[in-house]
Symmetry: none
DNA sequence: CATGAATGAGGGTTCATTCAT
DNA sequence: TATGAATGAACCCTCATTCAT
């Protein structure tokens, strides 16, 4: 085992660094404040990081790692049918927004990337778009998204739109109705990019929602068999 | 008379300030560099601005003023029919993107607003969304957008999506095919938010585009009368 | 005749310089403010003075010259008898204090002499003491002051004491009862330094003052003949 | 532990600050020079003071504290009889002047208070006068000073006179005969303000001095019994 | 490992002075 | 003469980084 105090100190510093960077931005964050909040001295900071910038990078990277672990790849075991995919994506978006809401202070860090650090913010955003693009292509392959839509533009619109919603959320005094926002957004992108099959699934979802309130994965499974029955009849 | 005032001095300083702020961000921009690039001394800078921050604000405000003058209000004299509105909006978006492409260095400035200047960026983005929201409502009133779509969410998705495209554009080495991007985006938002009437207009546009290439306002006028004829028959 | 505008400008600058030096002190006085208040430009200032310090010196010197013209030399035609000398000195002190009261803003200038300018203040004070010393010696020669008093110390005490009164006066919100102060002071120095003859003259003055109110030179002339009569009787 | 804090650092800085302020005045004193003379860097200065002005205040305040501890209050255990009081005051003045002689560089600092710091000098001088005034009143109560003398004016004359002597002393190349100066001054103020009893005591002192040289407290005690004997006879 | 005093480069700002007009 | 834009040397203060303990 490595020495505990050492690790504790670094973890502690990373946490307070995240805090301070979020509050003040990279330039205005002071090494001393980071160290003090971690209950350590300025000198200790330099036992763990060679510079303030390095600490910043590590904070960003650790955040990105946490993000990656939350965002599934489209080739994983996820629902492939229209109804299931819709619910899956909705719930995934919901939990992602929830996570961003909790990390909303951190999102400000990304904004503080300027000059030499700008690439970090861009890398983060590019990653998000890339991942989104893989999903768009996957859904096109599944016949859920129209094949003629440009996956790059689609991914940009989705990520950008969601980023703006997150910005609004971050700026808001109190937590906005994320569920509503996401349902509205999903409707726009499903109609905007989806095949007829997906759009019909969405309409079923809306219909169910209107009659029964919130639709969960459980509802969807029931609905799927019902739909099969209906199409048979 | 004194040494002839260099009437270009302030303009020159504002331009180089814009440059340097774009490159380095507010914190990392050095007053001396701004002045030097304008062919002036550090001291001269303070003949025109009381502080670096004031110069930053003036740069931002002058940009916002230029923006405002480019963005029309929905209650102005603009086409009210589906075909005309589509073309108008497309062409407006195109010229806006063109302007942003030329000002792409500046857009980086908005990103460099942190701490005390953050409100400038947020005010800019909020303004954009507000304007977009007015357009959404106007189109709903005209029967072009579905009345059940949430105008706030819609405006956020549109602005966020376009902002992301602009980010991609700004980061690109060479000018991307903005026309293509915008056509794809318009298709997404028209399908996502539009009424059947608008969607049909879009399909006509796409059809015409496929057969004849770029559609201009002139084409649309022809098409409009054709459509009228068709609906009569 | 030299050119008028030129002279006007310099006089004007000297006057405003005096004002500003009085208000702010040498270091904090800005050349631009001096020039502006004189209705001139910064550049003009340097047509008349080679530096701010030179202007300061000229202001001080002009003040000292005005002072000198007000302060009589002991070898001039002044009363030589005890009663006349007392009244003369009292009235001279009174007018001097009156002048200082009016120039109280200026006195602050002397306080702003530091570093390289310190010699100006010291020269001013030394001058005052030197002049006072000549008076002490003159009065000793006239048998009005005790011959065993050290003229240097006496002059220092007188000047220092009066300077402190002036300081109190300068700091005061409203004009203090200078006449009272000076009468009290004169009593102290007359008793402290005077011969019996002078002390008796002072007592006569006090007596007359008690019975008749303010004593003027006219009263003294009367009193002198009265005293002669008395000593005869 | 960190690098052993140089416990002398702050003391050292205060001392060199005192030096530099005395030489140049507040405005012209450079932080770097203060630090350099203390063998420290500019940055270290700010570990101990938040600004140059704060350092200046601390220098002044520490001097004032030292002064206060040297100046006795009149209600303390001090000789109440004419002879004892004279000797006490003379010796006290002597030691005070001695102290001021040693701190003569500092006294120049008080003169360098301008603008925002002027109140420091005025507070110092006002304090001195106030204290002196308490002594005048005490001596009046003891029947040593004439009751009709204005205590305010008397205190101003005493303090001002002594201040001027100190100024002369401070400006002098070599230490002047302070003892002589003070004896002369005391004679002036005793005659000027004292009752007959005090004046006679002073004359006894002068007489003794003429015959025996310096009079010490021991002499006074002998003299006191002698005087008692004389008054008895 | 931890500390925090010490460092010193760096940058914003001021303002006396110059000089082209 | 008069002007005031331009200059640039100074100087205060900050803070990332070092290092003796």
């Amino acid at each position: 085992m490595s020495r505990t105090p050492d690790l504790m100190a670094k973890v502690s510093l990373l946490r307070t660094a995240e805090e301070v960077f979020a509050e003040k931005g990279l330039e205005n964050a002071k090494v001393e404040e980071i160290a003090k909040r971690a209950g350590l001295s300025k000198g200790s900071f330099y036992l763990h990081f060679t510079s303030k910038e390095e600490a910043f990078q590590q904070v960003v990277e650790s955040f990105l790692a946490r993000c990656s672990s939350l965002i599934p790849e489209p080739d994983q075991d996820v629902p492939k049918d229209a109804d299931g995919a819709l619910v899956f994506m909705y719930e995934h978006d919901l939990s992602t927004f929830e996570y961003f809401w909790q990390s909303r202070d951190f999102l400000r860090i990304m904004e503080s990337c300027n000059g030499d650090q700008a690439y970090l913010r861009d890398a983060f955003l590019d990653d998000t778009v890339k991942n989104s693009q893989r999903w768009v292509r996957a859904w096109q392959a599944l016949g859920l998204f129209r094949p003629d839509a440009d996956d790059g533009v689609a991914a940009s619109l989705i990520c950008g739109g969601y980023r703006e919603l997150i910005r609004r959320m971050t700026a808001a005094e109190k937590k906005p109705p994320i569920g509503e926002w996401l349902r509205d957004s999903q409707r726009v992108f499903v109609r905007g990019l989806g095949t007829d099959a997906l759009i019909r699934a969405q309409e079923r979802r809306d219909e169910a929602h209107r009659s029964k309130g919130e639709v969960t994965s459980i509802d969807v499974k029931k609905k799927k068999s019902a739909a099969r029955g209906a199409s048979r009849g």
